[in-house]
Structures are given as C-alpha cells and as structure tokens.
Symmetry: C2
Subunit: 176 residues, 2 copies
C-alpha cells in the first residue's frame, strides 16, 4: 500500500462502490459489508455512513470511534457477499474468508491487504447515530495498492445483484 | 413513467449513480448534478444528500423543503455534465439543455422525462444542514420509465471521469 493524498480520497467513494468496514474491539478485529455511504466534504475528507445497530460492528464503531473503509475490486465480490451474510458475533471473518488484516497507521482497526484502497477513519460527529445509525467519519489516512491497476468496483442493486464498472468515459467538466 | 413500490426505491440509489436534483421556487424550476447521496432507511425510504450552499439549488431546497431526485442513464451523460457546469442563477437549464420537466404528484419540483427514474422527496431532517449542507429526505413517490430497459448509470470519479455500468453479476446473498 502507498499513501494517497487526502484531497483525492473522495474519488474512491463518490462513485458509490460496495465497501468493507473494519472495526476492532478488545483486541479482536471484525469486518462488515456496507453500501450506504457518501462523501460529505473534500478536505479534510468527511464521509457519512449508515451502520445498522443490528450489525455486530455497530457497537464496536460506537464504542471505539474508529474504523477502516476498504474498497474491494470485482475479484473480491464473492468474499464481499460472504462477509455481508455472516456476523462477527459468531465468526472470525478474516480467517474464515481469507482476508488479510494489515496494521493501520493511526487507528486500531486493520486495513485489508486484498482491497485496492483503504481509508483510516475516526468518528467525528455522532448527532444522528441514535436516530438513523448515521456516523460522520473523518478520513485520517488513505492508502492505495499500486499493484492493482484500474480496479473495477461493484455496486449493489439489492439481493446480491451487482453492477461491475464497465467503460470509463471522460467529459470536459469544471466539476471537481 | 409508472409508479415504483417505495420498498424498492433504495435499489436506485444504493449503487451510487450520479443523479440530477430538481427544485422549484417562485414558479421557477431548476436542476443540479449531485453525486454525494446515500440511502438511510429502506421504508419509508430516507435518503441523505449534500447540497452545497454555494449551489443555487441550496436556497430553494432549504426554503421549500422539496426536491426530485432523477436518475439519468449513460445517454444523458453530456447533459449531466452541462447541468453540473452551469448555474440556475443565470440560466433555465431545462430549456438550455433540452430536459423536459413533468409535473410531480406530491411536490412542486418537476420530474425529468428523460431520466429512467424519478423520486419525489421532502426534507425530513435539517439538523445537519448548517454544519455539513446535509439534508435528510423522505421519498414520497417513486417513478420509473418502463421504456428504458436495463439502464446503465454513470458514477463520477472526479473531474468529468465517469465509470459506466458494465456487466451485472448475481451472487447468492441474504443481503437485501
């Protein structure tokens, strides 16, 4: 993994890929699948996400205020679904599904080696947690894997149907 | 346009497409391009979005509490960029870019005829508007255009680069 400028972190999440979210509590790491996230601010990068209170990860995220958002490419799709269909309450998902935790720099939850990008985050606003399970996260450090060129991400349409990134098009734009 | 069950509305936004957001104020409709949105709840469908206060649409959304989220397919990409690169302060974007406003059922802002899906929304929570320009919207009514089969959406990677939906894959999943 090599560091990515925080000013570019939004380019990873704005396209709406399915991501993995890691947490760590009492020395034990966990990972969940998440599609409900969005950018909130460019820099410092702020991200909003919904982590349902029914998820085992919710209590860890709320208690520790730390997570890593890891972005998987197409080749990890079947692992992403397995992660989403199981609970860390019963299972070490890293071991069960062959995902490799790597130490993060500024938070306790691990990066995921197989993902092409990893964002170390801390919870920066909890005002909408009780009402909507909505966390505002600040991205503290961003990493990308230079070995994964032009990764294709996956986008969940419900019930295990995913759109895989197809062609890239570039249009003249003033939009950042 | 035919109505879509509100329980399925999340399937339109969860994949993270670029969308158009319409507003109406003092009898005048406007439209902006938006990528920073996420689902918050399945049903009634709640959506969070960031509408920057620098956008002309911001004041209309805040004042009226109403908008329509319209989802464009690939063929509208160049219009989507033009909408994003101009301001309703100076321009009637519907006329300028050949987008057709259609009356909505429950809100004043129009649907967009050329988009394959339209979601009529009202603002339901303003607590994070001042701090983050973050609006919580409730989807009141959802529409899809049955004439547009298997629409490919576009996903913004920054500076006018978009990933177009490619292959659809289906994996066995318990995830809704």
């Amino acid at each position: 993994m090599r560091p990515l400028a925080l000013s570019k972190a939004y380019q990873l999440l704005e396209p709406g890929p399915v991501v993995l979210l890691t947490t760590a509590r009492k020395g034990r790491a966990n990972v969940m699948t998440m599609s409900w996230h969005m950018m909130v601010e460019f820099e410092p990068p702020l991200v909003a996400c919904i982590c349902n209170s029914a998820n085992y990860s919710f209590a860890a995220l709320r208690a520790t205020g730390e997570c890593v958002i890891a972005v998987p490419a197409r080749k990890l799709a079947s692992k992403v679904v397995k992660v989403g269909n199981s609970s860390g309450r019963d299972l070490d998902k890293f071991a069960a599904f062959g995902l490799t935790p790597l130490p993060a720099e500024s938070v306790a939850p691990p990066l995921i080696a197989e993902c092409f990008a990893n964002l170390e985050c801390k919870v920066s606003d909890r005002r909408l947690v009780n009402r909507y399970n909505l966390f505002i996260l600040e991205v503290l450090k961003a990493w990308v894997d230079p070995a994964q060129k032009n990764p294709k991400t996956i986008h969940h349409h419900g019930y295990g149907r995913f759109a895989v990134d197809g062609a890239m098009i570039t249009l003249k734009s003033k939009m950042r």
